[in-house]
Symmetry: C3
Subunit: 352 residues, 3 copies
């Protein structure tokens, strides 16, 4: 997809990197060490990859200052991973979406779509929705009544934002995500489960990313809130009235039950479950499949079901593997003790 | 969103509540204790919230008969949670959907859409589908050939009901749900997995609710069945030929494998898994992330993987935490016993 | 849905079966033993079902050679499950989809849709997409720029294939699946999580099936790859740069983290999680809810979190249930030993 080429001199300037080698050399793309060819630039984010870099056919490298002896011109960067992001954005600029509303989109007369927004084919934008400049709605997106979307936000196909959902700036919502479906709230009336109307909303702050087919329910009252900078992976469930702090990471298939509050910088690995009405402190980290049934203070690192401090959980897992052996040793001890006791003439009772 | 105001006298009548205070006082909305203002009515479902109610700025309360000393006029109700539902329905009536078929919807000539149904923009209704009065299809819904939908059912955007799916009355299907995709059935023929055609259907009875991005597969033969009054949360998987009894609750990300049958009033908390071909009795309750690999009799309360009686599972979890300690104590015992044995001149064998 | 009838003579020929009974007898459908009527043919895949077959009202049977005394004419087949598939395809041929592009579909001028492809209502096909002969796109499908779809592939409603995704022949993609959403890749720059552009693609080989609302992310570089013949159930997450070998089975709600590679014929039961950057060998089988945190050699059968050899995991689960008892026995041993030691005048230390 990359067409334009850049000289290493140009790249050095953009990345504010120190170039070792020919500034006139041209590269036309970015690729990993194993697959890069002589017209591509590759990268090492870490000296661990030195061997692979030595074997690489890449025409140039981005590397940290301390990695020596690379087989091609090298751009030295203090933060090579950030430089890689810059390179990728340079070689793969987002496809242009000409502003305007596709003629096949269905837009309510009283919706306000900024002329600088791009609305794709067969989108539906309902009454009173407000779409800011620079927003891109891909094809077949549904925007409910009164929804607000901030500048520069990108919404992929088949997303549904139900009535009153508010989305900040530079948010990315991947295909099939559903924001603002009713929270799961019922009260048994003796005959059946009666629905508790869910009259709250959903608030997504700036710079959030929401994965494909993820569901974020509307609040019963007030708002379900995702604070700025938080990134949510695919197939994640966020229940009603949940609040997730800034710059958190929720990996795929995580589920968070109603009214739980996560702090800033929380990291939940894949398939983690969080029960309802909990408080998870800033910076908590939970390993994959952890089941969190109790609130956790800031900084906790947990694993397992029930969630336990990570080191303890690992120690338990190791000991668990010895359970059959433990039973054998226990039996042996009991027999031995029985025998000794008999020897001593003690008959006051068995070992059990 | 609430515009109309109601006097407390009017509300007392609707809720059949006893009013303590001025019947002419007007409230314009419902809010929780912490956020309610003087023009809003709030609620206590339980005397536990008495302190919060005392501190609330709410202009009126719905409360159980036994909670005294509230700081504003109070509507006394035997079942305050049911009263709350009544209030919410009063202040937040569902948005009106004028009956009729949006001009941008694509409806097969031989589909039968009742004039009292509302079909949103860019819906697709295929051949022989039957849509009853009072049904609301939001935008971008797909209704497959021969699908039947009963009175008063609401279907949110991007739902797909594949051929032959039958949905009862007053059902709610949230955005992105898929009903009637092929069950996961294959037979290895020595070369590859050959698809077993899934020629059955899906039957959803009255008053069921189905969450966002949930998938309910069609049966191989016969029907996958969700009985009346059952509520299913988001991102739930219901395999082919599963039957779920009346008034059950399936919380988010639950998965039920093929041909399992759940009784009435079953409650599965988040991320529970149920293996295939099991029978889960009436009223079974399973805690979050439980893995059910065997059939369970009516009334069982289970937790953990493998699923065990809840109390036993909790006792095991507590004991598990002591596994490293158990190993230490075992070692200490063995050494002590060895020493005693030596003292006694017993050399017939170690403790192990 | 079945209308045509077939004589048993015709079926014997198609199935290459030996018929015991009247070749002129007509059956009009296929049904399981319990529900089949006299005008239907039923089947036994195994002699275990002999009792049910004896009680069946079916007008004919497909059965293995060794099952005697059936109450109706019987077609003898060496592989009755394969014969069942043949029967189902015969009685339930796929609904015909007349080739051509529905007038309500939105197709880019430079997309190439083979005249033998069927494009349903309100599909969106973007620039440079290539759709082969015999492809069927159901309603409301989104095909991104440059996507390629091979012959005979079926795509159900609300599927989104993002830019550059390549899909082979005879693939089935169920409703709501998302292929090619961005992988979950970010790098913290001291202020927030910066997005690593995901510039790779997704490659789906021939004869793959992908379940409803499943998400398969695009690679950071290169491709996320699903090899031929692999079947993926609903609500599965496949992370960026994952590669899944031929003829594997991924049951519902499985999650596979980035860059992991699965071999051929791998079977992951429901809700299994696989961590990132692992290598899972050919033929590995993992039981439901297994959490795989380490690479596994070919042929391993694992269960539990952490994943352990299946027999060991089951032995541990059994022993786990005895943990409270183990603690009691340990305490009893310690007390008994203390007492014996006292008797011997040993006071060098407690059993602990």
């Amino acid at each position: 997809m990359a067409k334009a080429g850049f000289t290493l001199g140009e790249l050095a300037e953009v990345l504010q990197a120190r170039l070792e080698g020919d500034p006139a050399r041209v590269v036309v793309g970015v690729a990993p060490l194993e697959s890069a060819g002589p017209d591509q630039i590759s990268f090492l984010t870490d000296s661990r990859y030195h061997g692979a870099a030595r074997a690489s056919r890449a025409g140039a490298f981005v590397a940290p200052p301390d990695v020596a002896d690379l087989p091609a011109p090298t751009l030295r960067c203090a933060a090579p991973q950030q430089a890689l992001i810059d390179l990728l954005r340079l070689f793969h600029p987002p496809a242009p979406a000409p502003p305007g509303i596709d003629t096949t989109a269905v837009v309510a007369a009283d919706a306000r779509v900024d002329p600088g927004a791009a609305v794709g084919p067969l989108c539906v934008i309902e009454s009173r929705a407000v779409i800011a400049a620079g927003v891109r709605l891909h094809a077949l997106v549904h925007i409910g009544p009164g929804v607000e979307i901030g500048e520069g936000t990108v919404v992929y196909p088949h997303v549904s934002l139900r009535e009153g959902v508010r989305v900040g700036r530079r948010v990315v919502i991947h295909a099939g995500a559903v924001l603002g479906a009713d929270g799961f709230g019922f009260a048994f009336d003796g005959v059946g489960h009666r629905k508790i109307p869910q009259v709250g909303g959903v608030l997504i702050e700036d710079d959030v990313e929401i994965g494909a087919n993820t569901a974020i329910d509307r609040a019963t009252f007030g708002d379900t809130i995702i604070r700025r900078g938080t990134k949510i992976d695919n197939l994640v469930q966020v229940g009603h009235n949940v609040e997730i702090g800034e710059h958190s990471l929720l990996v795929a298939q995580v589920g968070i039950a109603g009214s739980s509050r996560l702090g800033k910088g929380v990291v939940l690995a894949g398939q983690v479950g969080v029960a309802d009405h909990l408080t998870i402190g800033d910076g908590v980290i939970a390993g994959a499949q952890t089941g969190i049934a109790f609130s956790l203070p800031a900084g906790d690192k947990v694993l397992g079901t029930p969630a336990r401090p990570m080191l303890q959980a690992k120690r338990i897992m190791v000991a668990e593997a010895r359970l059959p052996e433990i039973l054998q040793r226990l039996r042996a001890l009991e027999q031995r003790l029985e025998k000794l006791a008999a020897q001593l003439g003690d008959t006051t009772g068995g070992a059990r």
